[in-house]
Amino acid sequence: MFQGLAFSHEGNNSLSAVLYQRYAAKLFSYVCRHVSTSEDAEDLLLEVFLSLLEHEQTLISRGEDEQRAWLWTVARNKIIDFHRRAARRSHTNPLEQTLEIADDERNVPEAVLLRKEAHDHLHQHVQNLPAKQQEVLELYFAGGLNHVEIAAILHKREGAVRTLFSRALHKLRNTYRNGGTS
């Protein structure tokens, strides 16, 4: 997926290098869906890994699952902070809207637009799902997180996450049955 990149920097085996190798692409893709420009997504990804640098000593003793959940929690918080700052600047967007996927296609990064075109039908149905269901689906499929990790990130019970996930899949399955895919 993201092999052969030159960020190993001559045998840099630090935790940050390993986690960057493993999760940067997924995290970047996740951040891209929530911000308006690719530059903003790059800045946010950098912020996530700078936070990692600060907490490297704590995280080094944690398991892989915990490290992954930590990264996604930080990324999610950075996105919320980013939109909070933007809302404060513009005084228009309420915080609740910031969690929803950016719909203004004039500002969405090109890669995301291409993805939307390729999965136009699915994209429309995903967009029609409630924000929390979208988020659970995204963390599951984009982040590769399990229900326990998603529950920890969203501060919900595991059962609630499972319900959100199955409801979202059920709705999408029905649309597949009724209308097929693109």
Partner: protein
């Protein structure tokens, strides 16, 4: 006329709906519901998968991160040096302070010494003056002096 148009449209829509349902039923019968589920899952994974053209952006972020990392590691020895300088300054300050205190003590000792010498000198001089005065008093009043055996 309107009713005919409506009936025609409804019939057409209904036929399309039936045709689609039959197709779906046939599709599900041949492929099974699990196939649809797998298809949905695959499409979702594909929809959320990171795109291949992120490579350059990820390289840029990594370079910036690496620069921060190096700056942080360079900053640490500087901080250590700063604390050494700080400690050295404190030590020097303490030395200056100690030197000042020693200097003050030396001055005090010297003053005490001089004062003691002056006091001793004044005391000796006073004693000498007193003895001379006493001697002079004895010279003025000879009756006080013991009389010679021939005078008694």
């Amino acid at each position: 006329m309107k009713d005919d148009h409506f009936t025609a449209l409804s019939r057409e829509a209904l036929e399309q709906q039936i045709e689609r349902t039959l197709l779906l039923l046939a599709d599900e019968a041949t492929r099974g519901p699990h196939v649809l589920e797998r298809e949905l899952e695959r499409d979702l994974q594909d929809y959320y998968a990171p795109s291949a053209d992120q490579h350059e952006a990820l390289q840029r972020v990594w370079r910036r991160f690496h620069a921060h990392q190096q700056a942080a590691s360079k900053q640490s020895p500087a901080l250590a040096r700063a604390s050494i300088i700080h400690l050295a300054r404190r030590r020097k300050y303490r030395q200056i302070k100690m030197f000042t205190v020693a200097l003050g003590q030396a001055k005090l000792t010297r003053y005490v010494g001089i004062t003691a010498i002056v006091t001793a000198f004044v005391f000796a001089l006073g004693s000498l003056v007193y003895m001379l005065a006493r001697h002079n008093q004895c010279g003025i009043r000879p009756d006080f002096l013991p009389s010679a055996p021939g005078n008694a």
